[in-house]
Amino acid sequence: MEILFVLLILMIVGSIIALETKDLLAAVISVGTVGLTCSVAFLFLAAPDIAIVQVVVEVLVLVILIRATINRDTTAISGDREFFGMAVSIVLLFVIFIFGIKVFNDLPQFGQPIIALFSDAPSNTYISRGLKDTGAANIVSSVILDYRAYDTLGEATVLFTAILGALAILRSKARKKQKETGNK
């Protein structure tokens, strides 16, 4: 799967550009490139449902982020953080990287998932009996909406809470402004 290497390297380069460029709008658009590349990678990994959801979510994230950055002054960031904090961060990143590579030794090889190694893995039940149990031809949707429907309910709760929090944070500003204009 050489195409996956190409896509991953494109994602890494896009992320570095997004983090290092001075212009905030350019940074946001670079992250959009990374997300859409991620969606293409999902397509090559035989996950069409996730690719579709990733495209939709990516567009919404771009809209939200551009709303945050446009019309605001590009705040001039002078220099980096102090040297000691920078050095500690780099050492921390290095240590996490080493430990992560160690962990990959214990994982099954790429292309041999758990379901191929253990025949009694739960996913094997979903694949072999999903059509008979739930009547859904798409096994992913039968897992989301039938076998693990409570997870989806929890997801909806988390999403609702997060959106409610965002609305509450943004609304207190509007109320304060109303009061100020009322005083004038």
Binding site: L19, L24, C38, D49, Q112, S128
Partner: protein, 115 residues
């Protein structure tokens, strides 16, 4: 090898969160970390030459069971992607409020946040 590249992508995001001073850059770092984790979970469920977990009309079910990729990571990553949208909206709302309060995105200038 491909897992290592995924870890490098995660590290780039973590670098942004740890080192950058602009708060929008920190949010972008978190988004990049989310992409890396989602992609890694899908990698774990991939089978070389596997087919998407969708049963087509007239397909042989035994053959499909041998060839399909793992549907469980896909279902849970689907949940994770949608939740990340809500979290990003919350973070950006906080950023907008901080900008209106302090007039800057620079986190080292937000000293009055203490107390």
């Amino acid at each position: 090898m491909i897992y290592t590249l995924c870890l490098v992508l995660f590290m780039v995001g973590l670098y942004g969160v740890l080192v950058k001073k602009n708060i929008i850059k920190i949010v972008l770092g978190l988004i990049i970390m989310e992409y890396a984790v989602n992609l890694f979970l899908i990698f774990l469920g991939y089978r070389i030459g596997g087919v998407a977990p969708i049963i087509t009309r007239g397909a042989d079910l035994v053959e499909f069971t041998k060839n399909s990729v793992d549907p469980l990571p896909q279902a849970l990553v689907l949940t994770s992607i949608v939740i990340s949208l809500g979290v990003i909206a919350l973070m950006v709302a906080l950023c907008i409020r901080l900008y209106e309060r302090y007039g800057t995105f620079d986190i080292t200038e937000m000293r009055r946040l203490k107390g």
